[in-house]
Assembly symmetry: C2
Homo-oligomer: 342 residues x 2
Amino acid sequence: MKNITLKEIAETLGISITTVSKALKNYPDVSPRTRQAVMNLAHQLQYTPNSFAVNLRTQESKTIGLIIPEVVHHFFSSVINGIIAEAEKNGYLVIILQSNESLELEKKQVALLLSKRVDGILMSLSNESNDDEHIREIIHKGIPFVQFDKISKLIHSSKVIINDQLAAMQAVQHLIDNGCKKIAHIRGPVNPQNAIDRFLGYKKALEKNTIPFDSSLVYTCQRVSFEEGYAFAEQIKKEHPDVDGVFVITDLVAVGVLAYFNENQIRVPDDVAVIGFSNWFMSQVITPKLSTVDQPSDEMGTRAFQLLLEQMIARRDQKPFQAQTIELKTAVVQRESTRKKS
Amino acid sequence: MKNITLKEIAETLGISITTVSKALKNYPDVSPRTRQAVMNLAHQLQYTPNSFAVNLRTQESKTIGLIIPEVVHHFFSSVINGIIAEAEKNGYLVIILQSNESLELEKKQVALLLSKRVDGILMSLSNESNDDEHIREIIHKGIPFVQFDKISKLIHSSKVIINDQLAAMQAVQHLIDNGCKKIAHIRGPVNPQNAIDRFLGYKKALEKNTIPFDSSLVYTCQRVSFEEGYAFAEQIKKEHPDVDGVFVITDLVAVGVLAYFNENQIRVPDDVAVIGFSNWFMSQVITPKLSTVDQPSDEMGTRAFQLLLEQMIARRDQKPFQAQTIELKTAVVQRESTRKKS
DNA sequence: CTGAAAGCGCTTACAG
DNA sequence: CTGAAAGCGCTTACAG
């Protein structure tokens, strides 16, 4: 089936393409009669503008790119949800790419989006990202760009984040308030800023409560998986049988910890209390229900898109734009895994 | 930063745009020297073709659209994963839209993708979809189209599915083999084909085992949520205290059922066995671990894209194309929620 | 081997 | 109020 063009409408009506175009776009300098005739015919023929031509003419595609480490991930899929909803509301479509936590893939994907000439890019960094060249390229090209969740502090751009350090401090304080004396931390990989910040929050909380920091109580994930949680739980119990609290980088890993404890008759929270991070759905349905730090994922997506939109508009209108950082609120959610009998 | 165009390369080199274009695309009728010079300069200037112009010229965008009921959903997010990986491998980008199980939104999204002139559309129907007009529009326009998972039998297109009826039969047979005599079914909404088929599979399994079908044992979800599972579990126990097995439309709902049973000292599987569907990640970490039907989600995405690609290629080459249906294998996964002591 | 020209389908500054 | 024309940046059939 052929697509209708302005030309066909113009020919049918015996007027010029220019006038048809103007009528359709409600330019004021078209007579009401002509406008009406054009509108009617366009509607009747179900005319839709050829977006390829519009893109070329206007130099925008009303499409943005999103690069995210993983899609099958409760937190990230919720962020995606927020982004695509907000984008659609504003007439934008979203191309989603998954970096799989690989810097190499991430670089390729940035190049891909750049060559596709998306109007803007939203990004959460992969764990391997310690090299910023590809990101600087985005900014250097003047493409609107917003980082969220896993960001690089070294890149000057808009950001939507939480205060990971504070949130982690509160989580660990929560363990301490529940009577924990010897707290292990299963941290994320070495690169990501949020893993670093959560680790620093853990340290600070100990310090504040004059609990000595012991680096042998810190376990570092590579892939941030359920399996690692399980394995580290075992290792913790072997190496430090007297650990009575564990603060875990994210819920998925914490669930692995619980699985090991459950299977080995280690009572949670009585023997060891466990707190996760991110408030994944599964945390409220497992046994025992996992205490965690709630992090507004949907809102993170929404706000990230809004920030990007502001920047895209400023760019189109050739107005200056100030990068902004939005910090979202978090909250400790107490469930069974930390509720010690007192 | 301005983008480099063919024109600039041509002017710098003192040759024509035509020749630059041909050199870059490795046309044979360009002298090696010229080609080399063009290649060098293009590389040096980091030339990337303006995809807007290429799209307009070639009438394709190397972009496909995906409409899916929900993103924050273990099964669907895994399918997305399969799709975007396979698409990227083949040089395609994916625009993702979420219908939120709303027919109205779904229709808008189809129109949006059509007006964006994506090269193809991949779709899993919303629960409300009983009206096919918007889908027929896709096919009528000649846009390559593949349905997966939640399909309409009435639409003639390529499809990637599982045999829901058979899979459900096997799940219920599994309950029967484990000694269940009175089996309830928490089914999906009335519209979706897979909810209908799973229900039919349930009926068939009963029939085959000469267990009388009792419609009061069938409970119908509206939103297919954890909460509904919880509520129906309670209702089942009130209305039919002697039910000893429940087959649930999907794991998320089954987890709700387990939650109610756990909280009310109803022992699973000893008092009631429970089997879900789809093999969500959380099913293996809850207590008791949920038996379910495994459904290859990643592969479903991969195959759906492959089918779409075949059709896109056939269209480009003006070759005929036969719609195909791929049926993927499923398997009952036994875990704790059905392992009765015998 | 090279290049002038047409054309993809729009938008918009400009002339009348 | 209407329209001819230029131009966005490519690709490709065609001529030389």
